[in-house]
Every structure is written in structure tokens, then in C-alpha cells.
């Protein structure tokens, strides 16, 4: 498909563009936060850490949502085989999004003066709750925006009797997105009750709603890119969503270990959230199957790279790193430290951010009417952000392990005196990987914003860059994929043992050797395996362009071997 089929698909372009701008700003705020971690006096009093952090976190949510909206608007007409309903509402949604982003950015600064705009017991301007920092005014506008999205999606879809599983996934997703948001819209007096409901929004968004939208969109993008069968992909989407909800509904209990709720949540949370990686393994397996159902060259490598990155980082960040800290006995140590940051960054940016970027790389060239585009900046940008984010995951996790030991095991709570000096190496490494990441962001934002508008670069000799179909470029079999995945989980197991070892009496007596050793093997092992696996996967796909005739034979032979 090199042309758009429905005119209203073009409405997605503006949301993609907003997504890119917000992503760029979010990265810039992230770098500022890293600098403040090294020198806490930097900008203190002008832009305090908490304000910068709320901008960083809120922009992450806004740009991921922009990416979802854009992708849904782009695929909605294709799924429904008709134009989007009520395009004027989508234009309203767009300006509401711009207004609410700007309004929220301005009101967050008020936290420095302690102004929340209390009226009738509700904070109208900002409310100082992690991830839900937006005040009630912004909350209401966001709710209206979600309602508009629901209406457009549901009115565009065919009658319910004709829904396939992807319709169900997206339909349930957008409705749940709206309903869950409501739980974050009240001031709650009790801290335990407030945290209980705050995780309704945060957990059920990422592990319920966003995950469902993610699965449905990944499924449909695979249909578009590889011509996979809608019915088979839909069936996989059904199983993915079922597993996500069946594990994630009670999996939310892993947030209820230490917030003042009873001890029994430790049992339910440990049990069900340990099952949460299952749908992610399933999704991981499916991207392999769909990418290998024929041996044709992949037309749009940047788009596929980001899609693969999304599914792989979902596996590593959400699945494996989430698993390591999901048990009450490991979570008691990781909770409230940098260890959780590695999980949060890999899972949130990886899973949801990369999906939006994949969709943008798929959709923007089509909407700009380009039959072909220079894929080199996109591929370069992918490797920069992917490597940068894996590096960030590594330094957050190792810095976090030191933090657990110094802060929890030794009980030293002077952050600027004891804890930060112990974490100095990690704190200094954050901006190093941050700059790698940010340079990738710069390249991809420039590439996508100006794609088709700037003078085309001199066509490089792309054929020369195609890797040979041997070594790293040989065909990736199902067995090999399974082995890579197994290696990732083995390192995940080592990380889990490392966190668990903080319970050992010897560690409690102040000997950090075992947990440091486990973290020193587990985190670099996991993240390097991830990096090499993605390189292997992408090389094998790039090599397909080398052998135009052979793939059919290969494809016919190896599925049996892949078992």
C-alpha cells in the first residue's frame, strides 16, 4: 500500500506531528532531570526537580496518547472499510489536545508556590500525584477528549455483529481508556485509598488498556506490513487480550503490597502478576511468526524496526524486568528505588512509545505520497534510541541496586551525603546514554517532520549495504528465536535471585557481594542479549533483499524445522 485509501486517514498526520514534538520536549526534560541528579542545585528555585519531573512524565503520557490516537485514526478506516465518522470532532480533539498540553505544562509550575487551586475540595490546577499531576480542569478536558475518541471509533466501526477480534480489542480499549480515567478524578483523604485508586488509572492503563490497544495495533500493523491473515492475527489478538486481562486484573495487586492495604495482597499480587509476562511472550512469538510467514523483503525497515523494538522491549522491560520485582520478597527491596526506573523506562517508552514511532514511520510516508523514502536516517535513529534506552535501563538498574543496599540494607537516608555519592557512577552515566538516546530522537523527529518536504538525499547505494544472507544475516529460525528468549529469561532469573538475596542474613549484615554480582551479571547480560537479538532479527530481514528467488523455498522448508 503506497497510497492512502480513505481521505480521513489524513487526519492522523497532525497527531503524529504533535507526538514527535512532545517526544522531543519530553526527552529534553529527561536530560535536565539527569543533570539535576548530578547537581541538585541546578535551576533549583527556578524549575525545581518535581516540576521538571511532572513535565517529563506528563509529556510521556501525552505523546504516547497522541501516537495511539494517530494510529487508531490511520487504521480505523482500513479496519472499517469506510471513512472516519464525524471528522469535525477529530479536529476538536486535536485543538483540545494542544490546549490541554499547554495548560497542564503551565499549571505544573505552580507546585513551587504550593498553589493547587483548591475549590470545593478539589485541586483545579495541579494535584501533585505521580502520573496524575494534572489538575481537575485538565482532567475534565482529557475525559471529554477520550469520549470524543470513543465516539469516533465506535461510530466508524461496522455494526457489532461484523466485528472481528481487532475491532473488539480497539473498541474495548478506547472505552476502558475513558472509564478508567474517572478513578483519578477525586481528592481522597486517606493515603491508602488514594493510592488504591491511583493505581486503577496507572496500572489498568498500562497493563490493561494501553496493552490491549498495543496488541490490537501491533496485530493490524503486521497485517498491513506482511499481508498476514486478518482472521489468524485477530485470533492471536483475542488470546493476547484475554491473557492480559486475566493476569492484569488481579496483577494490579502488586501495587498493594506496602500502601497500607492488608498482607493478603502480597499473595495475590505475587501470583497473578508473575503471569503477566505470558501475553507478552505470546505477542513476541507472534511477531516472529508473522514476520516469517513469507520470505519477502520488508519494504519499510524503520517501521518494522520500531515495531520489533516495541514488542522486544515490552518483553524485556515490562515482562522480564517487571517479573524480577513483582514478588513481595523482591519488591520489598526494589520498591521506591531506581531499580523500578529501569522497568518503567524500558516498558513505557519501549512498548508504547516505539509503537507510535513504528506507526509514524509506516503512515507518514504514505500520507506524504512517497513511493519510497531514504530509510537510512530512520534506521540510524532506531539504533540510537534503542541502544540509548537499553543503556539507560542498565544504569538505572545498577544504580538502583547500590541504592537498595545503601538506603535500605544499611539504612543510610542522607541522600546528598550518603546515597547519591554511592550512586555517583550511575548518576553520571545517565546523561551519557541520555545523549545517545536524545541524538536518536533528534534524527527521527527531523526525519519524520520533514519527510517528503526536504530535498531527497542522494540515493545511497543501498544494495551494497545489504548484509549477506549468512552469519548474522542468515534466516532466523523459530528454535533460535526461542533460545534468544530463553537466554533473556535466564538473565532475568539471575536478576531476580540478586534482588531476592537482599533477604539473606549475610547481606543484611552488610556484605553486598552477592546482590552486586548478580546485578552485575544479570542486567548487562539481559540488555546485551536484547541488543544482539534485535540486531540478529533485523539483519536476517535485511538480508532477504539479497536473495529474491530463494525465500519461498526457505520458507517452505523451515517452518517444519521451526516446529
Amino acid at each position: 500500500m503506497i497510497r492512502i485509501e480513505y481521505e480521513t486517514q489524513r487526519l492522523s498526520l497532525r497527531f503524529f506531528m504533535v507526538m514527535l514534538v512532545l517526544f522531543f520536549l519530553q526527552t529534553a526534560f529527561g536530560l535536565l532531570l539527569a543533570a539535576q541528579h548530578i547537581d541538585p542545585t541546578l535551576l533549583a528555585g527556578t524549575l525545581n526537580f518535581n516540576v521538571l519531573r511532572s513535565q517529563h512524565v506528563n509529556l510521556a503520557i501525552f505523546w504516547v496518547l497522541s501516537g495511539f490516537i494517530a494510529t487508531i485514526l490511520f487504521v480505523g478506516p482500513l479496519l472499517s472499510k469506510r471513512e472516519l465518522a464525524e471528522p469535525w470532532l477529530i479536529k476538536v480533539l486535536f485543538y483540545a489536545l494542544l490546549a490541554v498540553v499547554a495548560w497542564n505544562a503551565l499549571t505544573q509550575v505552580l507546585a513551587q508556590q504550593g498553589v493547587a487551586g483548591w475549590w470545593m475540595g478539589q485541586p483545579l490546577l495541579q494535584e501533585g500525584l505521580e502520573y496524575l499531576e494534572a489538575g481537575r480542569v485538565a482532567d475534565v478536558v482529557i475525559l471529554i477528549g477520550f469520549a470524543i475518541l470513543c465516539r469516533v471509533v465506535l461510530r466508524t466501526f461496522p455494526p457489532r455483529a461484523q466485528w472481528n477480534e481487532i475491532h473488539w480489542g480497539l473498541g474495548l480499549g478506547v472505552v476502558a481508556l475513558t472509564l478508567v480515567w474517572i478513578f483519578g478524578m477525586a481528592f481522597v483523604e486517606r493515603l491508602d485509598v488514594q493510592e488504591y485508586f491511583r493505581w486503577y488509572v496507572v496500572h489498568y492503563w498500562v497493563e490493561g488498556v494501553w496493552e490491549v490497544i498495543h496488541i490490537a495495533l501491533v496485530g493490524f500493523l503486521l497485517v498491513l506490513m506482511f499481508g498476514a491473515n486478518v482472521k489468524s492475527v485477530g485470533y492471536a489478538v483475542f488470546w493476547g487480550i484475554s491473557l492480559v486481562w486475566l493476569s492484569g486484573l488481579l496483577g494490579n495487586a502488586h501495587h498493594y503490597f506496602w500502601i497500607g492495604t492488608p498482607e493478603f495482597w502480597q499473595f495475590w499480587g505475587s501470583l497473578f502478576s508473575a503471569l503477566e509476562p505470558l501475553p507478552l511472550i505470546f505477542c513476541f512469538w507472534h511477531i516472529y511468526l508473522d514476520a516469517h510467514q513469507d520470505g519477502k523483503p520488508v519494504a519499510n525497515m524503520p517501521a518494522f524496526s520500531f515495531l520489533l523494538g516495541s514488542v522486544v522491549l515490552e518483553q524485556v522491560g515490562a515482562g522480564i524486568l517487571g517479573f524480577t520485582m513483582t514478588f513481595a520478597l523482591t519488591n520489598v527491596w526494589s520498591h521506591g528505588t531506581w531499580v523500578t526506573l529501569s522497568h518503567a523506562h524500558l516498558a513505557l517508552f519501549g512498548t508504547f512509545g516505539m509503537l507510535g514511532l513504528a506507526a509514524a514511520y509506516y503512515a507518514v510516508p504514505i500520507m506524504r505520497g512517497l513511493a519510497a523514502f531514504d530509510q537510512r536516517p530512520g534506521r540510524l535513529a532506531f539504533w540510537l534510541v534503542f541502544t540509548g534506552m537499553l543503556g539507560l535501563g542498565f544504569v538505572f538498574a545498577t544504580g538502583g541496586t547500590v541504592q537498595v543496599f545503601v538506603y535500605r540494607t544499611l539504612g543510610l537516608d542522607w541522600f546528598s551525603g550518603d546515597v547519591a555519592p554511592a550512586m555517583q557512577f550511575a548518576k553520571v552515566s545517565v546523561p551519557v546514554f541520555g545523549m545517545v538516546f536524545a541524538s536518536g530522537v533528534g534524527v527521527l523527529v527531523y526525519d519524520l517532520l520533514t519527510m517528503g518536504l526536504r530535498a531527497p538525499a542522494a540515493a545511497g547505494d543501498e544494495a551494497a549495504a545489504v548484509p549477506r544472507s549468512a552469519g548474522w544475516g542468515r534466516r532466523l529460525s523459530g528454535w533460535e528465536t526461542g533460545l534468544w528468549l530463553l537466554a533473556m529469561w535466564v538473565f532475568g532469573g539471575i536478576i531476580t535471585l540478586g534482588l531476592l538475596s537482599f533477604n539473606l542474613p549475610s547481606v543484611q549484615q552488610g556484605n553486598a557481594l552477592f546482590p552486586y554480582l548478580m546485578a552485575g551479571i544479570g542486567y548487562p547480560g539481559l540488555l546485551l542479549t536484547t541488543l544482539l537479538f534485535v540486531r540478529r532479527f533485523l539483519r536476517s530481514l535485511e538480508a532477504r533483499r539479497h536473495v529474491p528467488a530463494a525465500p519461498l523455498v526457505v520458507a517452505a522448508v523451515s517452518p517444519a524445522g521451526a516446529g
Binding site: Q36, P40, A44, N48, F49, N50, V51, R53, S54, Q108, Q112, G114, A116, P123, G128, L129, E130, E133, N164, E165, W168, F187, R190, L191, D192, E195, Y196, K231, S232, Y235, A236, F238, S242, L246, L249, L250, N252, F257, W258, I259, G260, P262, W265, Q266, V332, G336, W338, Q403, Y407, R408, T409, L410, G411, L412, W414, F415, D418, A422, Q508, Q509
Partner: protein, 323 residues
Amino acid sequence: MSCKPGEPCHEGLKRRRALAVLGLMAILFVALSAVSFLDSRGQAVPSQVGYAGFDAVEGKRVFQSYNCMGCHTIVGNGAYFAPDLTKLYDKAGPAWLEAFLPSAGAWPTSGAVRRHLQDPAIAAEAGTDDLDAYLEAYPAAAERIARRGGKATTMPNLPLTREEIGNLIAFLKYTSQMNTEGWPPTPAVDGLSFPQATPLPAALRAAATATPQEGAAAAAPVSAVAHGEALAVDNGCTACHATDRQRLVGPGWGGLYGSTTTLADGSAVAVDEAYLTQSILDPDAHIVAGFEPGAMPSFADMLEAGEVAAIVAFIRSLGETKP
């Protein structure tokens, strides 16, 4: 779990079954949740926690208004830039918090904590009005004063009012009383004995081992200015007053002596020894334009006449404006 094209896969039936299982799990979840918040569990509730006449629910509003969670964690949730606050009240106690919060940019000294223990309401909450007994009851306060007292923190000064500080402490008292199922874990060792801990200053370590009398006897006779400087630090004056012209919570002391300042009622007054002495002993007698009354406590019960004179001499040493 895959379905080939053309095969009947019974998606509708399976979807309904999945929804039914999901419904059962939702019922389980709701039941567990309902049990979690039964009154009979005896979990602390902010509306039932008071602190010196302040309100923990209002304190939660203050906590949210300043986005404290954007740097700190509470029950482990929030940012990881600053320490967890859940059990801070239990560990450091109300007088330390009272001394810290008005000028969070500097760590309180023992004098500042002692000053707040003079307040009967705070002393009643702390369970003692004696500094030594307080430091014994709240070891984290003792550790903070000994290792950090007088040093700069990495927290910005926040424009907290007296009311907000009281409510915030009430909220922290409430979170201290919460049953968080053993989190955060209690360390099995004394972290201060490990190399990761910033060591105590050598002089303080020596003083900590010496008895108070010996310490006083060992101190060489000092000038009035040096004595005044030590008193100003020890009593927490410099937490709110800069030694240059900068405005912190109160006016800066640099170049203050001999200047003429405008009061809130519009009148002008010469800053001399008598004015400064009165401002230390009865701070609300004259309020400089742009400042609030009630921010500074009286030191009449805490300083001898000679000590007040030494502090005035120290202020005078910081630069004199010739009339």
C-alpha cells in the same frame, strides 16, 4: 492458540467464556478490596489524627499542593530523588520537622530543635521538652543534627506558611501511624559504622565522647563575634537569616547594622543595638515591610543577655552601613 484461515475457531464463544472468567476475577478483586478498607482492620485514618491542633487531611492537601511526591516517595511511590517520608515523623519527631520545614535549604541545628521544644504544644506531641531526652527518643533527629546540622540541603526553600507546616506535620504523623506491612524493611546493622556513611566531623566525634562539662572547659576563650557566630548557628538563626544581604525566610544580616529599614506600618527605624536586641527578644514588636509577623519565635527564654549581645556583635561584624 492459533487459528488458520478458513477454520472455525468459535471466537464468539471463547470471547464470552473469557469475559465470564474475567467477571469472576473482578468479583474476587472487589471482595478483596472491600475487606481491605474495613474499619475493623484498625488502619490509621487522617481525619482521626491531630497534631498540635492541626489537621492531617489539610496536611495531605499541602503535600499534594507542593507536589512533594515529585521528589520524595510516600509509601514508596513517587520520585526517587529524595528520601521516603512515610515514617519520618516517627524517626525524627515533630520538633525536628518544625525546625526543618520553614527553611528546608539548610539542615537544622540542635539550637533550632531546642527552640521548638520550648513550644508547649510541640513538646507535648514530642513527649518531652528536654533536648537530650528528645534526641534519645528520636535517634534520626540526633543523627541529622550531628552529621548534617548547619549544612546546606539539596531541597529548595518552600514558601510554606505556619499553618501549612503544622498541617503537613499532622499528615506525616498520620502516615507514620499507618500499618504498611513492614515496609520499609528495618536495617539489621548500624549503617553509620559502614564506609558508605559520610563520617561525623572529627570535632563532633570528640565532643560526642566527651561530657558536656569537659567540652565547655576545653573550649578556649573566644571573642564576642566568634561566640555570637557560634550561637547564631547553634540556635538556627542562620537557617532563616543569610550572612549577606540575601533574603531567605527573614532579612539578610549583611550590611544591616546601622542601616535604616522601613517597617510594615510605613515608619522608618534605625537598625542599632537596641533594635536588634528587641527583635531577638520580641520579634513581633517591629515587622519589616514585606515580612509576616509570627514567623520568628522569641528567644527571650533561650538566650542570656550576654549571648544576645554576642549575636548582635556578630551581626554588626557582617558589615555596617554608615549613616
